[in-house]
């Protein structure tokens, strides 16, 4: 499978990365090189093989349902580019 410039622009939109016409063209050939490389996976017979869901066989650890952390609003917003009273500020999203 290979991608065209139109697909690359659509994927960039999904990934929320602004691309110029020039970027999109360069990315198209780079992405096609990688997609061409991974194509060889199709020759592997995977019938009856489950996809890997866990690297090491282990049961998901569960902790007690109690509060172990919190009350750190100032710490959480400390690195944000724009805040007001412990809220993150973003451009207006609702008209």
């Amino acid at each position: 499978m290979s991608v065209d410039v139109k697909t690359v622009k659509r994927v960039a939109r999904l990934a929320r990365i602004a691309v110029s016409e020039e970027d999109a063209e360069r990315m198209t050939s780079e992405l096609n090189a990688i997609l061409g490389f991974v194509e060889q996976l199709n020759e592997v017979d995977v019938s009856g093989v489950e996809p890997m869901t866990s690297v090491t066989p282990m049961e998901m650890k569960k902790r007690l349902d109690v509060v172990t952390d919190g009350s750190k609003a100032a710490d959480i917003v400390a690195n944000a580019p724009a805040t007001e009273e412990n809220f993150f500020l973003v451009p207006k999203v609702v008209e």
Partner: protein, 521 residues
């Protein structure tokens, strides 16, 4: 003073405990070495000198009372991927501009609890994506190793007056260093370069597809990627969560064992952290390997592999045989599919993990006409080319209609790769020996690699299988090539059997010796 930087961690530990040296002295020696070398090597992106002096002072107070942890007063460098409280943590990306976390990663917290001293944050490929440390926002790291040429020098006949000796002439060979700058490998290039150039006693690193083992091999250092789940991932900037593991880069096998013992832990904050006690890895060093079964996988003999790598592999086989191990040929039939499967799984996970860099909660923000425009402009300005490429691939393979063909297929192949190893271990193989990399270090701004991303990816051909299967792997220096550059061998072990890796790697180290670059910086 500068001699102090040449002590291994085990030597420094003994001298600190015996009060022959102080943590302040050794820390000062490293800070001076960094100041002199860093303009040439670019291994550190931040030097935390005040913090280092403060921590060293605290260590000296403990050592004076005969107290202190297993790493008390040992100065270390920390890869920029580890969250360090109040200190620059940017994964060497522009998108995390100015980020200073209000928390400490579990791995670094373990090191500080054991008394280690932080020298600074080490350069790396942006978000650990790269095999040459050239994708860093802070510029490439330079390998302290350079190619050299063996020249035959004709010695002149000289007469010296007062001393009265006469040299009769004749010839000798001398190595002349080439000026070309080489990459230290990546993504943990700053860690490998700093350890190799004596700019820290040891360093933390991370490995998603070979990012500890390939730079270790390129710089003549020892690097171990432990079993998935051995070191907590909490507080480490995530790249591909099912593949990422932290581990140390050190100057010898014993130092790597000492560091891993401190870094590894069971952590309730990482659900994939495995609930088993951390053994004393150092105790495994020096145990005989007589009767051990060493697997040699035929699929690791790849087309176009330099003869020197093949010769090095044979040397490794001979050393282990001499030490009484049994050598067996094995087959890992799905080896060639590991790299293509990795280039689906890793970008897919990365595209999801890196979705958080949106200009809202931390780091860079580029204003836009609305929120989506702000996201798109921030991410376009904040991520470098390689990172964008991988996010794009990941987004594509996970997008509607392509998920089964790419991602599901890759995760199935991944199980087959894991099964290959399981079969080998079930047949009685204790450890697998392979080359660490398909070549020695290459030049900065290599044109072939820049023109074709897949060429760069092929650096990880021998290491990536280990991440796909979640196994432990160690790279240990085994010799120099004809141009005087270090080459490494890799040992792959059973899950959580890092002890056997240290034990076997030490046998290789005893036979091969350790390697230091000639100082030019």
């Amino acid at each position: 003073m500068s001699d102090l930087t040449h002590l291994t961690i085990s030597q420094a530990r003994a001298k600190l405990r015996a009060k022959e040296i102080t943590a302040a002295e050794i820390t000062e020696a490293y800070l001076q070495a960094i100041e002199r070398a860093n303009p040439a090597l670019n291994a550190y992106v931040v030097v935390t000198d005040d913090k280092a002096r403060y921590m060293a002072k605290a260590s000296d107070a403990k050592l004076a009372k005969g107290e202190g942890g297993s790493l008390e007063g040992i100065p270390l460098g920390i890869k920029d991927l580890f969250g360090t409280e109040g200190v620059h943590t940017q994964a060497c990306s522009h998108v995390l501009d100015g980020f200073k976390p209000h928390y400490e990663s579990t791995v670094t917290a373990n090191l500080w609890a054991d008394g280690a001293v932080m020298l600074g944050k080490l350069n790396m490929d942006e978000f650990a994506m790269g095999s040459s440390n050239e994708t860093s926002y802070y510029g490439p790291v330079v390998n302290p190793w350079r190619r050299s040429r063996l020249d035959t020098v004709v010695m002149p006949t000289t007469h010296q007056g007062d001393g009265g000796f006469v040299s009769a002439g004749g010839t000798r060979t001398a190595r002349t260093l080439d000026n070309a700058q080489l990459v230290p490998g990546g993504s943990s290039g700053g860690s490998a370069s700093a350890v190799s150039a004596f700019l820290c006693a040891g360093a933390t690193a991370t490995d998603t597809g070979g990012s500890i083992r390939q730079p270790a091999a390129f710089t003549g250092t020892v690097g171990i990627k432990p079993t998935y789940g051995r070191c907590s991932r909490w507080g480490i900037v995530a790249f591909a969560s099912s593949l990422d593991q932290a581990g140390p880069i050190a100057r010898d096998v014993r130092d790597a064992a000492i560091l891993l013992k401190s870094m590894a832990s069971v952590d309730p904050k990482d659900t994939t952290s495995v609930d088993r006690p951390v053994p004393d890895y150092e105790a495994a060093i020096g145990k005989p390997i007589k009767g051990m079964k060493i697997g040699i996988p035929r699929e690791y003999r790849v087309d176009g592999m330099p003869e020197e790598i093949e010769a090095l592999w044979q040397k490794g086989i001979a050393w282990l045989k001499d030490a009484g191990a049994e050598i067996v040929d094995i087959s890992l039939p799905h080896t060639k599919y590991a790299l293509p499967a990795y280039y689906i799984v890793a970008p897919a996970e990365a595209s999801s993990n890196l979705a958080r860099y949106d200009g809202v909660r931390y780091g860079l923000r580029v204003p836009g006409k609305d929120i989506v425009d702000m996201y798109e402009k921030t991410r376009a300005a904040g991520f470098g080319r390689e990172v964008k490429r991988r996010i794009m691939i990941g987004t594509y393979v996970l997008s509607a209609g392509y998920y089964d063909a790419y991602y599901l297929q890759a995760q199935k192949v991944r199980n087959l790769i894991k099964r290959d190893f399981e079969n080998a271990f079930a047949a009685g193989v204790d450890v697998i020996l392979t080359p660490a990399t398909p070549s020695a270090a290459f030049g900065i701004a290599d044109e072939d690699m820049a023109a074709d991303p897949v060429k760069m990816y092929l650096n990880d051909i021998f290491t990536v299988t280990v991440n796909m299967a979640g196994l432990p792997g160690i790279a240990v220096p085994a010799g120099l090539d004809a141009k005087g550059l270090p080459l490494g061998l890799q040992l792959i072990g059973r899950p959580f059997d890092e002890e056997t890796l240290f034990q076997t790697a030490h046998v290789i180290e005893q036979a091969a010796g350790t390697f230091q670059p000639e100082k030019w910086w």
